[in-house]
Assembly symmetry: C2
Homo-oligomer: 147 residues x 2
């Protein structure tokens, strides 16, 4: 096993605005005004979908050559369904996470249709963000309280 | 059921640089140079950890009052372990997604320790990004090939 550790830090600032950093990079996540935020960035669910789609894009680029796929363009439109009754605690039996995530993959390629279809199935299986959603990681929380 | 649909778009540009958009917001995800990128943004795994931590931050803000928690500061440091032998296809039995995700929660609060601990457990259960990782969504891929 060759374990690599990925790290990020997220800090709540005013309202629901969150400053996020990873290595030398930062981004702001927030909520739109109708969900109580100031709309200075996308929200965490949108960011999670971006992470998923970007991961598929990168896997496509990295493995196209080995799969002999002509890759001219690659785009993913993502949609995730959330049951707000679950999130808001109105229905205790409702699922709280995404019910379904749809990845609409657009690829421009001169390769045969069946090879492209097989390649897209390979991407779905090989993308670590998709795999983290399909095959749950162990989730551990450690708490430090400052008075 | 009150389904709300969240949407993002991710487009592969040069190399492994991905332009991501959601509503009026955009961000660039990329890989560091040692992983074949140009390091113009965090990578998708770091972004996924940011989405998870930011989601917990926002749930903390939105529910602190109802739980009678004095919330002065809230931060989450996240670590996710990946087995690169799985990702790179060197070990077909290895897990491809995160093996474990550790959320190190730092909270500044004058509330009693047991109430804060209970609140943090509530956050873990109520955060939709955490719930999407713990309780897998249905994953659907639709493919459009352009010649």
């Amino acid at each position: 096993m060759a374990v690599e550790v990925f790290k990020s830090t997220t800090k709540l600032t005013e309202g629901v605005k969150v400053e996020c950093t990873a290595r030398n990079h930062s981004l702001v996540l927030d909520e739109p005004k109708e969900l109580g935020g100031t709309d200075t960035g996308m929200n965490p669910l949108e960011a999670a979908l971006c992470a998923l789609g970007a991961c598929k894009c990168i896997v496509a680029r990295l493995f196209a050559k080995a799969h002999e796929i002509d890759l001219q363009d690659f785009k993913v439109d993502l949609e995730g369904d959330l049951d707000m009754d679950g999130v808001m605690g109105k229905n205790k039996d409702a699922k709280i996470g995404f019910l379904e995530i749809r990845s609409k993959v657009y690829i421009k390629s001169g390769s045969p249709k069946d090879k492209v279809e097989e390649f897209v199935r390979f991407i779905d299986k090989t993308c670590p963000v998709a795999a983290s959603l399909a095959d749950s990681p162990k989730m551990v929380t450690e708490l430090t309280i400052e008075k």
